[in-house]
Every structure is written in structure tokens, then in C-alpha cells.
Symmetry: C2
Subunit: 93 residues, 2 copies
Amino acid sequence: MTVFYVICFDVHDAKRLRKVSNEMENFGVRVQRSVFECHLESGQLQELKRRLDKLMNPTEDQVRYYNLCGKDKLHIVIDGSGRVSADPDYNLL
Amino acid sequence: MTVFYVICFDVHDAKRLRKVSNEMENFGVRVQRSVFECHLESGQLQELKRRLDKLMNPTEDQVRYYNLCGKDKLHIVIDGSGRVSADPDYNLL
């Protein structure tokens, strides 16, 4: 079962930022420059964290993982362009 | 009663970004460059949206409002420096 995560990062170095962004794209959908929406199983989340921990500088950079329940996901509001990313499992149907 | 919101924005102009950031600081705590955590009552959320709508360019910029229930808030994970911002109501006690 997947859980919906909003993952936001502040990375204070261009090279590290590029690496973190590239890694994030393996796990979810970029919705803003430093925000991804991901549908992750528990093991995928742990793997993502493990990979990001290796790329980041813990004293300068930060990643925040917000998990949203189904009800909270329904209430996401977007002003401007864009929409909530779909669970890729559903896209396959 | 306040609701906990994670508010993320992509603003593609330095002047507008400064104005949006300044406005956001009236409503919550900056936790990353483009991410604020806010405890807002319904009327405050509407007022914030109204003000941001006036500052943003809707074709270039975007704001995402994620509301988190109490349970989801408990499960926020932060890698690197920083912590979850407290509800200011509690700070007053």
C-alpha cells in the first residue's frame, strides 16, 4: 500500500541540488522547484531517505517529509497552474 | 480552531517572491526558502489566499496549500536541521 508524501527540500549547493532533484525524480512527480509529490510504499520511502542522506550536507541542507492521509489529500488547494499528482498505480488502469 | 497548513510556493520573479515571502511571514513560520508552516483559522486562510492572489502572477507562479490533520502532523519527518513549527496558541500558555 502506498502513502502520499509531499517532500520539500532546501539544498544550498547547485551540484547537490541537481543530484537530489535527479534522485527525487526516480520516486515521484516534481510539482514545484523544490517540492515533489510521491506515492511510496514503506520500503521505497526508506530507500529514498537512504539515498538522499548520502547526497545532502546535513548541516546546510534539509528535507521535510509530509505524509498526507486520503482525506487531507482531497483538500489540497493549488492556486496558479498545476494539479495534484496522481498515484501511478491508478494511471496504469 | 486552527488547522495546520504546509504552504509551498514557486514564484518566478524576485520582486514578487519578496512580496509573497513578506506576506507569508504575517501568517506562519518559514521552514524552507519557499515553504511555510501555518496554523490558520478558516478566515485567516481565506485572507492569506486573497492577499497572495493579488501578489502572484497566476500564469507563472503557483502556491500549494496542504492541510495536515493532527495525526499526519505527528508523522512529519525532517532530515537535516530544523523542526516542526509549533502552534503559536500553545506557545502562549
